[in-house]
Symmetry: C2
Subunit: 141 residues, 2 copies
DNA sequence: TATTGTTATACTCTATAACTATA
DNA sequence: TATAGTTATAGAGTATAACAATA
């Protein structure tokens, strides 16, 4: 029944939070040697796949505030993994590109995330995985 | 295929993070007047449902570090929503109980969370919801 | 020796508000 | 007026390390 609440175990948001925490914990514990957080890898990955992307575009893709995006972009810029160039058409914008070092770091990160994803996916059949992915996309729009 | 990674959109953990963020954002934006975070409500709820629960038990149920649990427990203790009593059998332990004020706050929070959950659940059929819940539980164990 | 609660500390993520430069 | 980037600031959540009291 919708709209009725008994114990906290019935709350979908509760289990979503625990699941997210478990996955984040696994990533942090197993891939600390990467020197990159999940979020930093996301920004690096999106930048490598979309050369010249601006911070506002990254913010939209990652559903983050502009200021939050700044902090993450600047953290991986400081590591030398991405670099900025002025936009040719709009001088307010900054175009971001992965450096060679960034591409190499991303390749390493993808291997780690591949193992991480296999650990996560091992619980599910292919059909279940497709359903889960569809459900999650429906939640975040 | 497992073990292969193309774009970031194929990464389950990526969508889990976005979904979690979207739900957290909806809760924060719509129920700021509660004066309680999701996490604080969780602790209050578990305490009300399990009178005399200890911090370590809360930590296990919420998959948190003891120190992290402390911060949340003490925050809602400071609001007067839960109170401590020494354990009768083990003097190291603290037994936690919801106060009358805490029970009232929890009742209000449950109404808010009910609306929040309806917003979340509106995307799914009953069968899909059962599947989603099962998947999430499988992830966090 | 192990467990419970505690404190100090630090890092990540998140957001708001206000500012500058540009459109 | 609106947008892009920036900075300052603050709060929430997370974790590690070390300690005292108790088991």
């Amino acid at each position: 029944m919708r709209g009725e609440l008994g114990g906290i175990d019935e709350v979908v948001g509760f289990h979503l939070r625990l699941a997210h925490g478990a996955v984040l914990r696994h990533f942090s514990e197993h891939f600390a040697e990467l020197g990159l957080t999940q979020k930093q890898v996301s920004v690096l990955w999106l930048t490598a796949d979309n050369p010249g992307i601006a911070q506002t575009d990254l913010a939209v893709r990652l559903q983050m505030d502009r200021a939050t995006t700044m902090a993450i972009v600047h953290a991986i810029e400081a590591k030398g993994l991405i670099e900025r160039r002025p936009s040719a058409t709009d001088r307010r914008r900054v175009a971001w590109f992965a450096t060679d070092q960034g591409s190499a770091a991303l390749a390493r990160a993808k291997l780690a995330i591949g193992r991480h994803e296999d650990w996560l996916k091992s619980r599910f059949t292919e059909a279940e995985l497709a359903a889960l992915l569809s459900f999650l996309k429906r939640i975040h729009g």
